[in-house]
């Protein structure tokens, strides 16, 4: 049985290298695209520098957001240029070449602020290269578990029950990892840890279903009955998986979706490599746990031989 666990470890190492490679590839080959921009008052040398910006401010009180920026404030025919040093709802103070000028907000007819713009690298998007493969593997392994459950119901052979059970365990592991990485990404991208959004909700339900599968297994005494019930439940539960998978395409959802042909070559290649890597990792875990199952069986067998 050593071979199975060796195989598992080789698959794990290979999967690790591939996923890591894909992840690095997205940074250094595909680069980090900009998503939106940030602004500063001063100017700094940076690859992300996009140039100066000039913007008209609609209301004088908004000048409070631009303390430190250059501003051009117009009052009845009079234009004052300078750096904003202080601003409140009622007044704004400019430093115009050493002279401090205070203007009532009510007198301001128009104001233009200027500074520098920098591209904002979309670090959050990088999660796509591991969060999505992990989530996909959780669906695939769930499908494998449902397949073996069906096989079990047809044949009643214990090996299929074991395979379904181990596949379900791998599903649970990957679901948990998807949840963990997903929650961190939602915080980064949406600013909240959790949102009751269709994809998240259905995925959460899927988590509960997989947990329920193990609750069910633990509460049935008879081994064959346990296997049958668990198989039936995993088939029923699997009906929710496609709902979760396709729901972002059915109901308006905040969750990002890959658009058809929307990936550039470096991104696509990295993504596919990451998927293959994760699949190998999933396979490794599956093999490892199957090996453990077989060992347990051998122990049981040896015990009955010794005691019988």
């Amino acid at each position: 049985m050593k071979s199975a666990s060796t195989r598992a470890l080789i698959a794990l190492a290979l999967g690790g290298v591939l996923t890591l490679g894909a992840f690095l590839g997205t940074f250094f080959w595909a680069g980090v695209p900009d998503f939106g921009f940030v602004r500063t008052a001063g100017r700094a040398e940076s690859v992300r520098y996009q140039g100066p910006f000039k913007q008209e401010v609609a209301e004088a009180r908004y000048l409070q957001n631009y303390v430190g920026y250059r501003a051009e404030v117009e009052t009845d025919g009079d234009i004052v240029q300078g750096t904003i040093t202080e601003a409140s709802d009622d007044a704004v103070t400019l430093d115009a070449d050493g002279d401090s000028v205070t203007i009532d907000a009510a007198d301001v007819t128009s104001a233009i602020v200027s500074g520098s713009t920098y591209g904002r690298p979309d670090w959050g998007q990088k999660i796509f290269y591991f969060h999505v493969p992990v989530a996909e593997i959780s669906f695939i392994v769930f499908a494998v578990a449902a397949f073996y459950s069906l096989r079990f119901i047809m044949t009643r052979r214990r090996q299929y029950d074991q395979k379904a059970r181990v596949a379900m365990e791998v599903t649970l592991t990957f679901i948990m990892l998807t949840m963990a990485t997903g929650i961190l990404w939602t915080r980064a991208a949406w600013g909240v840890w959790w949102e009751w959004e269709p994809r998240l909700t259905t995925y959460f339900i899927m988590t509960l279903l997989v947990i329920a599968y193990f609750v069910l297994r633990n509460s049935v005494e008879d081994e064959e009955r346990r296997a049958l019930y668990a198989a039936a439940f995993s088939i029923l539960g699997f009906i929710d998986a496609p709902i979760s998978f396709f729901i972002t395409r059915l109901i308006p959802s905040n969750h990002p979706v890959i658009e058809r042909g929307g990936l550039e070559t470096p991104m696509l290649v990295s993504f596919i490599v990451a998927q293959i890597g994760m699949l190998l990792v999933g396979y490794a875990i599956y093999q490892l746990r199957m090996g453990e199952m077989k060992l347990t069986d051998r122990i049981e067998h040896a015990k009955t031989l010794l005691e019988g």
């Binding site: 040398e45 992300r48 920098y118 670090w123 591991f130 961190l184 990404w185 090996g291 060992l295 040896a302």
Partner: protein, 62 residues
Amino acid sequence: MDPTLKEVYSLVLTQWPLVAAAYALLWVGLMAYIGFALKRMNGLGKQVEVLEAALARRGKAE
């Protein structure tokens, strides 16, 4: 460091700690799971050896 550059970085880098944490969490989780599985398997392997040695002594075929 240039104060403006510092400001740029502080504005630009808000997301990456979370992404890095997610990546780290992923591998820590996987490794912990695999580590426990391997440890359990080691224990089981020892038990198998003991039992099968006992079987061999008693001359019972498996």
